[in-house]
Symmetry: C2
Subunit: 272 residues, 2 copies
Amino acid sequence: MTSSAHYLINGESDNWLSPLDRGVAYGDGVFRTLKVNHGLPVAWAPHYQKLEQDCSALGIVCPGPDILLADIERLFTPDEEAVAKIIVTRGIGPRGYAVPPAASPTRIVIREAFPQYPSINYDQGVNLHLCQLRLSHQPRLAGIKHLNRLENVLARSEWSDPSIAEGLLLDEDGLVVACTMSNLFARFGKTVVTPVLDKCGVAGITRQRIIDNVQNMGYQPEIRQLHLDQLMQADEIIICNSLFGAWQVRSLNNRVWLPQDLASHIRTILQE
Amino acid sequence: MTSSAHYLINGESDNWLSPLDRGVAYGDGVFRTLKVNHGLPVAWAPHYQKLEQDCSALGIVCPGPDILLADIERLFTPDEEAVAKIIVTRGIGPRGYAVPPAASPTRIVIREAFPQYPSINYDQGVNLHLCQLRLSHQPRLAGIKHLNRLENVLARSEWSDPSIAEGLLLDEDGLVVACTMSNLFARFGKTVVTPVLDKCGVAGITRQRIIDNVQNMGYQPEIRQLHLDQLMQADEIIICNSLFGAWQVRSLNNRVWLPQDLASHIRTILQE
């Protein structure tokens, strides 16, 4: 099932994880998923910055960038396109929610094969499922890519049809948040809107890179509340993450959008 | 830090946890914490029933009771009072939120020393901190003792004063839910109220045992919404869990309650 995976725990290849690690006890940690090209992590600077911010939000000391880059160098060969998953937990602790003052963070770097995405996702766009599960509001955790991801697991289990690439998530007020493993943009004319993520959702670095660059493409970025009925009126919908880049949404909730140019423009920008 | 801890993973003492386990990746699992007296788990029937219910709510196949009891028998000696923590995760899986159809659950049984609770907690009651963190509403996960516990970790980190035993948690609407590691009852005359847990919180088995038995003690149990200002008018407040049993609340939010009898009555009932 995971025969292609290899990993280092605190830099050691023969390490395993302690069942007393707070990562498993409480999901007390954060993670990143990134593309590695020819042994080099893509968009490393924003990925590391976000990892550090997320660690800081939970009061976890983030391992230094050189330590993580050394792990990546050891795990990945220069001749492949692969995925790195980095997990940083608060470390091993005694039973109980109180944060151990002397906890030493656990860092895990996992190498996995790059997914074989269908080419139709890039050419024609993807079909979205509208998830029944509504994301809960927790401002203290909103935006952080932490290890408490049962909502995503439950949402992803709502469909098994392989022609559906992603699931759209609304929050408990019915506002659009994101998809289960990607962020979302909606184009209205020359304005490109992405939902504000102050109550739930993960603020991915590809989302931020698009916000930062879309003006150079002639569009105005806007971060605001987005209702489902507004989303359904969009000229174009794009979903994005660090692995597939950007895909246009082809269908959602009985509406179909014909292929347009924004997703491929964004992919070009993301490759620079 | 945890030198007294010993554990079995899938029944093996020399096992460690895979970093690819969905328990750490997503907090995709459930747990129990219970008292073990002379090698025998206390209130095993309700603990196992709840473990099975919680597994079922997430679509995880629960290990059979005999398998878990055999683990406990191997880990615990007949001459001690100790704590068993049981974790069941969905098991190892490839990257991605989709539930692997062939995932085989991971079971972890950990032995820890029984906590040395201050005797004043039993004699005089405990002081509660009113947590700033508000619990989010997720009806799909409410009541389940799952591994997504960052809210509890954040709430517990709000105080370090050792004279404060617990923190009271309100939900996003300001309703009383529970404490960080215990459930709560408020007595009004002959009625004993505990908050309804259909939007958040953990429905502990000690809470259920008290609901089931309080009528024999001459009280009427009531499960309903409870506002903080109502709670502050209670004749008596009790918190409970499987380890300490029941403690009266001595102080909360500038009100002090003198020691009364309900907590010790409940402890007697729980020992039967």
